[in-house]
């Protein structure tokens, strides 16, 4: 795919995408969260780890926009930094999952035969595990660190990607341009990555976006069970989890991080659906 083709494709995609107002709204929120996460040190009014126990459990006020927690830390500042952690968990985990998914799917789809059967059996096996329980078990056993969580979520969620990358490859490899590339004697790696993969990327992109949403929710769930990113690092999940003990005494500790998770996950879901609608030619122009 040449560069001009790419740009015009993006333009074309954007034309459809921007019609979906919910998706554009989601994208805007994601961008804002990104900017906020990136500039947290400048935006945060307080050091997120600074404790001042004399100020503990103060309700939201002009001094502390979202109140303070049980150690007098500023919840607003912690949430800003928490955005970094939650987003990194989401993105790195999905990055790993997409990487593995594409690799496995591409190899299985391109080479076919026994390689394919073997890899697809592996996919079947992985699919049979109750994912959340598996993640929980492994995180619990290896110890919950942000690194472990990202890797484990990534390692347990690549199967969907692998399956449809494989399917795309199966159909794409019979197409003329691939046959032509083969006839020209290009090596497999080049064919896979330069010729087939770009054509199979659109759906990968869609699931990746939706998977980021799932990964953020999974981290929150792990935090709830005590296996999330470990305190004192502030992820939204563990601000929420630490705060639930105080649910009667300090509602803001539970409500705000919950809303932040909800909003972020919602945005990724909306964008993901928007992408799906505008990248799937069959659905185009449906409105």
């Amino acid at each position: 795919m040449n560069e001009r083709g790419m740009t015009s494709q993006i333009k074309f995609f954007w034309k459809y995408f921007k019609r979906n107002r919910l998706a554009v709204g989601g994208l805007t929120i994601i961008l804002i969260i990104f900017i906020v996460a990136g500039t947290a040190p400048f935006l945060a009014p307080y050091d997120p780890g600074k404790t001042d126990v004399s100020l503990k459990l103060k309700p939201p006020s002009l001094k502390h926009y979202l109140g303070t927690d049980q150690l007098g830390r500023d919840v607003f500042s912690r949430m800003l930094y928490g955005a970094r952690i939650s987003l990194s968990v989401g993105f790195v985990a999905v990055g790993i999952s997409i990487f593995i998914g594409i690799l496995v799917g591409a190899i299985a789809g391109y080479y076919g035969r026994w390689v394919d059967s073997l890899l697809m059996r592996l996919v079947d096996i992985m699919f049979c595990f109750p994912t959340f329980f598996l993640i929980l078990t492994v995180v619990a056993l290896l110890g919950p660190s942000i690194f472990n969580i990202m890797v484990i979520i990534g390692l347990t969620s690549w199967m969907g990607t692998a399956r449809f990358v494989r399917a795309e490859f199966l159909s794409l490899k019979e197409r003329d341009f691939v046959q032509a590339a083969r006839a020209l004697g290009l090596n497999d790696r080049r064919i896979i990555f330069r010729h087939i993969l770009p054509n199979a990327l659109a759906p990968v992109f869609v699931t990746a976006t939706l998977d980021v949403a799932t990964a953020i929710l999974v981290e929150a769930g792990l935090s709830f069970l005590g296996f999330g990113v470990q305190p004192p690092a502030p992820s939204w999940g563990n601000i929420l989890t630490e705060g639930r003990t105080y649910i009667f005494d300090a509602w803001w500790l539970t409500v705000f991080p919950g809303l932040a998770i909800l909003l972020t996950v919602l945005s990724f879901n909306l964008v993901g659906e928007g992408l799906r609608d505008s990248l799937d030619p069959r659905l185009r122009g449906r409105r």
């Binding site: 595990f129 994912t131 929980l136 078990t137 929150a220 069970l225 996950v265």
Partner: protein, 319 residues
């Protein structure tokens, strides 16, 4: 058909062995010991070594695996935590989990399908857009967070117990009231568990309906003079529901994973909580068995989904 069954069974067996080996590797490679969990200054370390030996923890890993398999099939697999047969522990809880999930599933299907169907009836109308947004909201809400808020709200509003299988002070209740009490304790967690599913399935139903409505045979049906209603609710719906039937099979894998958090929150004595506690306590026999059983259930679920699809779709039945 026989060949198909045979192939499926073979595949099943292969997958099962893979699952058990994989989960065994994961568990035994982990740091931490099931015994050294108590930090009681009155317990001497010699005792702990002896206890580890009694659990075969001193044997090589591969031997432990086969011992586990052997014990599982002879019913001699005991939990590290309370010395009870693992299968018995699972058996006494699985019905609670199944009940909760069954109710959640019923709620999902009875709410999501109408929701999706009605949304797709007038796509992009105000109500449809509202439904779309609501569905995404439902998909994005952290379940335990919602559960907390709901529990808080119901306790404040009604002052009636919500946790557990039933209320504990039931003196003076008539039988129908006891039934109502059970339903109340079931409905709340099941509804919250169902929210994700309702959101997902209603989206799925909606897009499935929209897809079907564009098919040629819908036009044919209309050209016969059938009213829009009949065309929509008979010809379109039936086709749109076909792929949804298969989803029944995919509900099972989510069963245990999805139950872990909700069962803990609602003090519901089910498999999910058992699994979570077993993970915490390094109760290898229980963790392994639950992983394996849920994988088996998943496989069975997929199999049932295939069969169901064959029943529902005439195109499959005769192939």
């Amino acid at each position: 058909m026989a060949r198909f069954l045979f192939r499926r069974l073979l595949q099943l067996l292969f997958t099962l062995i893979g699952i058990s080996i994989l989960s065994w590797i994961i568990i035994t490679q982990a740091p931490g010991s099931p015994i050294a969990l108590t930090m009681d200054p009155k317990v001497s370390p010699k005792i702990i070594e002896q206890m580890e030996k009694n659990y075969d923890l001193d044997k090589p890993i591969y031997q432990q695996y086969f011992l586990w398999l052997k014990k599982l099939f002879t019913g001699k697999l005991y939990s590290f935590k309370d010395g009870r047969p693992v299968l018995e522990k699972i058996a006494e809880r699985i019905w609670n989990t199944l009940l909760l999930n069954l109710v959640a599933t019923l709620i999902i299907f009875s709410l999501a399908i109408p929701l999706g169907v009605f949304s797709a009836r007038r796509p992009y109308s105000f109500l449809d857009n509202l439904g779309t947004f609501g569905a995404y909201l439902g998909l994005s809400i952290p379940g335990f967070w919602l559960a907390y808020l709901v529990i808080l709200a119901t306790v404040k509003l009604f002052g009636y117990p919500v946790l557990g299988l039933r209320s504990f002070v039931i003196e003076g209740l008539s039988t129908p009231e006891i039934v109502l009490d059970r339903i109340w304790h079931l409905l709340l967690p099941a509804s919250i568990m169902a929210i994700h599913g309702i959101a997902g399935l209603s989206r799925y139903t909606r897009s499935s309906m929209l897809e079907v409505v564009r098919q040629d045979y819908i036009r044919t049906a209309k050209s016969k003079g059938l009213s829009e209603e009949v065309v929509y609710y008979k010809h379109a719906l039936r086709n749109a529901l076909l792929p949804i039937i298969t989803l029944f099979g995919f509900l099972i894998p989510g069963l245990i994973g999805g139950s872990i958090i909700m069962e803990s929150v609602f003090a519901w004595p089910g498999i999910g909580r058992l699994a979570y506690q077993a993970v915490l306590a390094r109760d290898y026999p229980v963790v392994m068995t639950i992983l394996t059983i849920s994988a088996v259930l998943t496989l069975i679920g997929n199999f049932i989904a295939d069969l169901l699809y064959g029943v529902a779709d005439p195109r499959i039945r005769y192939q």
